[in-house]
Symmetry: C2
Subunit: 180 residues, 2 copies
DNA sequence: GTTTTTTACCTCGGAGTCGATATATCTTGT
DNA sequence: ACAAGATATATCGACTCCGAGGTAAAAAAC
């Protein structure tokens, strides 16, 4: 998704792509060569991108990669109807968010944000005692588990706040567009 | 790490373990059977845990798992000197945090928190233009990328705040312990 | 002029994980 | 009596990803 997402902005070669994906680090762990290049080949075989060999502007020759219509369609399908992991796994979610603007319909964008919003609403119960009874944060002995739950709650609220505002804006835009 | 970490609290059987690991979801994606049971066997082979077959209190017989001294040592090694991914990958970091109290020396705990703190300090530059020049948040066209960076900054500050307080407390405790 | 570094691409083996599938036990509902 | 469902453990094939290694070209350092 990240490969097609970046290529949708403008053509890039593999090495550049690697750096851009890696720079999403902090959110996403950098991608290894052994992952990137086979994946590019796979996307090429699936006609999602084309490559043109160009002389390297700095050193070795590059393979300039360009997204195709098939690739754009694939990207939009992934964004429009993401697998569950892309909603529940923070790393994957942030990747999706980085490219959600490539889904052009605001109503569809709002729908994806709503799925994430609903996931964040589910109360997270992280720790249980011997009997399987949930342990509330104030009864946790470990300061690290206490901190973990504090941070979790706080960051969830931050994201929920943003999601609600964003969903509101998108729906307003969608309504306006439909009413035109 | 999660298996040994949970067993360090009290003995559990595989099925219970699965539910507890899964309940860290929101942070961690639930563990599959095909991952859990081979991993238990691997830990048993490595003498990190022992199993006693016990009649199931509810249904089928269970394998009660208990951590050994070897297992405790292994857990402590993982916690004391975590691989880079455990510092930089949020999912892994939160697992580590959930069990950091099993590292009993406050000075060692503080050291791990400091590594995370240093990682969070590195300014995250997520997006670049065609020329490879960084795009500041205010020049981003996508509201999703803008939100992504806002949320990232905000949640980072929350965690840094907690880390600093916690590191301070731990160092005070370590100093006091050393001074006794 | 030769080595080192940076850029750039590629492959292979191994480790880890999942999903499907299988098995067995006990309780509950019909 | 029988089926269904929750409990509980285990294996296997497929897939993904990483890390180590290799190739090559141009620039920079020595």
């Amino acid at each position: 998704m990240a490969i097609l997402g970046f290529l949708r902005d403008f053509p890039l070669h593999g090495y550049d792509l690697k750096n851009r994906v890696a720079s999403l680090a902090g959110h996403v762990r950098p991608i290894a060569d052994g992952t990137l290049y086979p994946t590019i080949k796979k996307l090429e075989d699936a006609q999602c991108l084309t490559r043109r060999t160009a002389p390297g502007s700095v050193a070795a020759p590059r393979h300039m990669l360009e997204i195709t219509q098939t690739g754009t369609d694939q990207l939009r399908r992934w964004l429009r109807d993401p697998e569950p992991g892309f909603i529940t796994d923070d790393n994957k979610w942030y990747v999706l968010l980085a490219f959600l603007h490539h889904l052009e319909n605001p109503r569809e964008q709002a729908l994806v944000l709503t799925r994430r919003r609903e996931f964040l609403d589910r109360p997270a119960q992280l720790f249980f005692d011997e009997q399987g009874a949930p342990i509330p944060p104030e009864r946790l002995e470990s300061p690290f588990r206490k901190g973990l739950m504090q941070i979790h709650r706080s960051t969830n609220l931050t994201e929920i706040d943003w999601l609600d505002r964003q969903i509101g804006e998108l729906n307003a835009r969608a309504g306006f567009t439909a009413a035109r």
